[in-house]
């Protein structure tokens, strides 16, 4: 079909996407077994020399596909503006290969009963940890993504399996309620679906501390952030702002700062889908680009953006494997994958010990980008007082960090040596196009406006 379409148009490609898996959730009163939103479909992409045309569908009747694509090719040809130049799309170097992520215990072969029992074990640990626990939700999930990409030079396929284990705990003291969660998500098998009991106990302790937490007085604070907070800062500061489809739309201030200092010189940041074990990892993106590491910030200097096919073609930028779709039925955009600050040289204990009067932030929940204005918002549940280099029992909640991105990044004065990517969470483009990606980093010391 791709060959046939390219007889009429300069470029065509096809992507088959299938996802399947199971989602199990148990709590004190209810249990559920569901398939993970399974989907299977194809998207054909046509380029008429000036713009893209796509058709997405989930019925694989050959005659219907042919008719649908002939109609689309007709539309694409009619849309060519003879007064404007036409360009060719680079199909990339030839490759024919099948890729598979490594699994020790394939979740598809693990009995549902075993998965349920694991979820129940986690649940029991949470429910007995403290009388203030009103309920908990324990989730074990797995999803296998199968992709096949075809253009005139490439026939590549990949099978990547991800496993998630999540625990959310709900507590009440009769007056106030709290909620905290913990977990992991890795491109791996059932072998990783384990949350250690001591972690669950610590989670419950944190939830209990939140019941007596006060609101923080707004101000600028000396702050130490844990790897989850660090990851969301990386993602929101210079993740979204480096997605080059925003460059085409002239809505990313970062484009003018490539090659310039935008962070403290101990800051290094990467986006790396080739970290296949991390939940944002893959072998090739939804436009057939093979994955590799992109250094976004090197020693405080902004290096390069993250590209999808359309923006790389338009702006004549080198491709990176960041063309990603929510599903076969959605458009590809430039999107992050595994985004993180890399290690520095300080131990987390030394970083906390270095703060005379400040706050330790953990249990980050969400964030929001502002690529044109360089504002940042990161929200979380936990700000713990640091006095004289030691953590006290005083906890504030919730907490929001806002500020101007370069101010925040230039204030980073210590970078830990404990980079960690938990893998929980999803990312939207604005408020839609939800995809799986990860964030992380080591502990960081910085100055930030909190409330």
């Amino acid at each position: 079909m791709v060959q046939s379409l390219e007889k009429k148009l300069p470029y065509a490609s096809a992507l088959y996407k299938k996802s399947s898996g199971t989602h199990l959730s148990v709590n004190r009163v209810q249990e559920n077994v569901e398939q993970v939103d399974p989907s299977e479909g194809i998207v054909f992409t046509l380029w008429n020399g000036q713009s893209f045309f796509e058709s997405s569908f989930d019925d694989f009747n050959w005659a219907a596909i042919k008719a649908r694509l002939e109609d689309l090719a007709g539309l694409a040809l009619c849309a060519v503006d003879p007064s404007k130049p036409k360009t060719d799309i680079d199909p990339g170097p030839p490759i024919k290969k099948d890729f598979y992520s490594a699994l020790v215990l394939d979740p598809a072969k693990v009995p549902v009963e075993k998965k349920l029992n694991r979820a129940r074990e986690h649940l029991r640990s949470a429910l007995v940890a403290d009388p203030a626990v009103t309920n908990a939700i324990s989730i074990i999930g797995d999803v296998t993504n199968e992709d096949l990409f075809v253009n005139r030079n490439k026939v590549i396929s990949q099978v990547v399996t991800r496993t998630d284990a999540v625990m959310a705990v709900y507590l009440s003291d009769g007056e106030r309620n709290s909620e905290v969660h913990e977990g992991l998500s890795k491109n791996a098998g059932f072998e990783v679906a384990q949350i250690p009991e001591d972690k669950i106990k610590k989670l419950v302790q944190d939830g209990k501390a939140l019941l007596r937490a006060e609101r923080l007085k707004p101000g600028i604070y000396d702050v130490v952030v844990d790897p989850d907070w660090a990851g969301i800062i990386a993602h929101e500061c210079f993740g979204h702002g480096m997605e080059t489809d925003l460059y085409v739309r002239e809505r990313a201030l970062s484009r003018r700062y490539i090659g310039k200092i935008i962070a403290s010189d101990i800051v290094n940041m990467f986006d790396d889908p080739s970290l296949i074990r991390e939940a944002g990892g893959f072998f090739f993106d939804d436009e057939g680009e093979l994955s590799s590491s992109t250094q976004v910030i090197k020693d405080g200097i902004l290096m390069r953006g993250l590209t999808d096919l359309a923006s790389a073609h338009k702006l004549k930028l080198a491709r990176s494997a960041n063309g990603r779709r929510e599903s076969f039925s959605r458009k590809a955009y430039a999107r992050m994958t595994n985004t993180f600050f890399s290690d520095g040289g300080s131990s987390p204990a030394d970083i906390i010990a270095s703060v005379d009067d400040g706050l330790y932030l953990k249990h980050a929940t969400n964030g929001m980008e502002d690529p044109q204005g360089w504002g940042i918002q990161v929200e979380g549940l936990w700000a713990q007082e640091i006095k004289g280099g030691k953590l006290t029992d005083k906890v504030y909640s919730p907490v929001i960090m806002t500020g101007f991105v370069p101010d925040l990044l230039k204030s980073i004065s210590m970078v830990g040596s404990d980079c960690f990517i938990s893998g929980l969470g999803m990312c939207g483009k604005g408020h839609k196009e939800w995809i799986k990606n990860t964030t992380g980093g080591p502990h960081l010391r910085l100055k930030a406006r909190l409330a």
Partner: protein, 436 residues
């Protein structure tokens, strides 16, 4: 396909089953700097199947459930999928509930816009370009338009069989504006069922003004101030109240609010009181439909009256569990109005204040549904004082919903947004701002 699935389910001698057939046709268009970057056509069809199997466990009846989804290409695996689902259902032991019976009477709800056609997207593109061209100092960074036509049919083992068809139009427009200094952006999102509710020109005019003002915006002050919310911040404001009314969360012991309890400040309310309905039959509301996820007819149900929890929001499953009336799933959120004209709410003198902040957009506003706490970065707002009106951007607004609503004024005018019908403005007399 539907007959094949139904026939297979009938042969399995289940306690119950439900099938929801969803067919979707979408057209999508993407502009970058006003030029067409991509056009997309999408067609999908799938079946959400739930099976219910009752068995005895310790002398008590328990319900095993499993949920799966079938597409045109997975139909060949139907019997194997059913075997796996039955096995999974045999592993879980939930409380038994009954599916709704056949013979339900459904309301007539206007969900489908007959005016939508193949040219709609192109016409929206042209309207957007023309509207932006009229705005001084403003240009179009990006525009995305989507039209969806969705057919839904629900069937269950008790003979219930209902169908509906709806349309959704969506846009996301990003404007760039320059007054002095750096160019600033403003993102406008809009989702409606009817083209006639899609007032693109008016929304672009409003967005252009906000984008222009962003260029001269400053940080707000730090401290406690009166804050007026209008526009986008209203969309998710009431979500904690809906969570506290939820039979599902009550049954799952995640919230524990009793009927008759005061949800707002435990009787200390000093301003307007809050009344909320789940309204699934509002014309054009995105939350409107003829029936909910179990086939229960949608309607208008009082949840909270003058701050008091009156009814749980309960679909058939959780209504059976808690032995409360079935209200159906959440439709649109309808919040009752107050008595103050919207124009007066932005006057600091009304409540004896010198400064008031009017917030029209946050970066992301997601009040915690369990605790009611919220914090959000200001994306677009104004500081209003005797000295004039100053745009603000950055910094944050924080509060706790139940405390904030205990001391608020609601406008008498209402506004219909995506899935809420609410007062056009809500003035909180005291929230915390973090800024300069």
């Amino acid at each position: 396909m539907l007959d094949q699935i139904k026939s297979s389910l009938d042969k399995r001698n289940l306690f119950g089953w439900q099938i929801i057939e969803v067919e979707k046709n979408s057209r999508q268009s993407f502009l970058a700097l006003g030029e067409r970057e991509c056009s997309r056509h999408v067609h999908t069809l799938h079946y959400d199947v739930s099976i219910y199997a009752v068995r005895e466990e310790g002398g008590k009846k328990v319900l095993g459930t499993a949920v799966f989804k079938l597409g045109p290409e997975s139909l060949s695996r139907l019997e194997k999928t059913l075997d796996e689902a039955l096995y999974s259902a045999g592993l879980v032991s939930n409380q038994v509930f009954e599916l709704p019976e056949a013979g339900q009477v459904y309301p007539a709800v206007e969900m489908l816009d007959p005016a939508l056609n193949e040219k709609t997207l192109e016409e929206c593109e042209e309207r957007a370009r023309a509207a932006v061209a009229k705005e001084k100092g403003v240009r179009l960074s990006s525009a995305e338009f989507f039209t969806d036509r969705i057919k839904t049919r629900i069937l269950n083992s008790k003979g219930l069989d209902a169908a509906q068809e709806g349309s959704i139009l969506e846009w996301e427009i990003i404007l760039l504006a320059k007054n002095s200094g750096e160019e600033r952006e403003f993102i406008s999102r809009f989702k409606r069922r009817f083209l006639s509710d899609f007032n693109l020109e008016k929304e672009i005019q409003k967005s252009a003004a906000l984008a222009r003002d962003a260029g001269r915006a400053k940080l707000p002050k730090t401290g406690e101030f009166a804050v007026l919310f209008s526009g986008e911040p209203l969309d998710r404001l009431f979500e904690p109240l809906i969570a506290w009314s939820s039979a599902r969360l009550k049954y799952n012991q995640i919230v524990d609010k009793k009927l008759g309890s005061n949800l707002i400040g435990a009787g200390k309310a000093a301003g307007d009181s809050i009344s909320l309905w789940s309204n699934g039959i509002l014309k054009g509301g995105l939350g409107s439909s003829r029936f909910d996820s179990f086939g229960t007819p949608m309607g208008r149900v009082l949840l909270i009256q003058n701050n008091i929890l009156k009814n749980y929001l309960a679909n058939k499953q959780y209504a059976d569990y808690l032995k409360v009336p079935v209200t159906g799933d959440l439709g649109n959120i309808e919040a009752g109005p107050g008595s103050t004209p919207f124009g007066l709410l932005s006057d600091p003198g009304l409540i004896g204040e010198k400064v008031l902040y009017h917030i029209q957009a946050f970066s992301a506003f997601e009040p915690n549904p369990i605790t009611g706490a919220f914090s959000a970065e200001i994306r677009a707002g104004y500081e209003i004082s005797a000295g004039g009106i100053q745009p603000v951007k950055g910094g944050s607004v924080s509060g706790v919903l139940q405390t904030a609503l205990a001391n608020c004024l609601l406008s008498k005018e209402t506004v219909m947004r995506e899935r809420i019908l609410a007062p056009q403005g809500i003035l909180f007399k005291k929230l915390t701002l973090a800024g300069a």
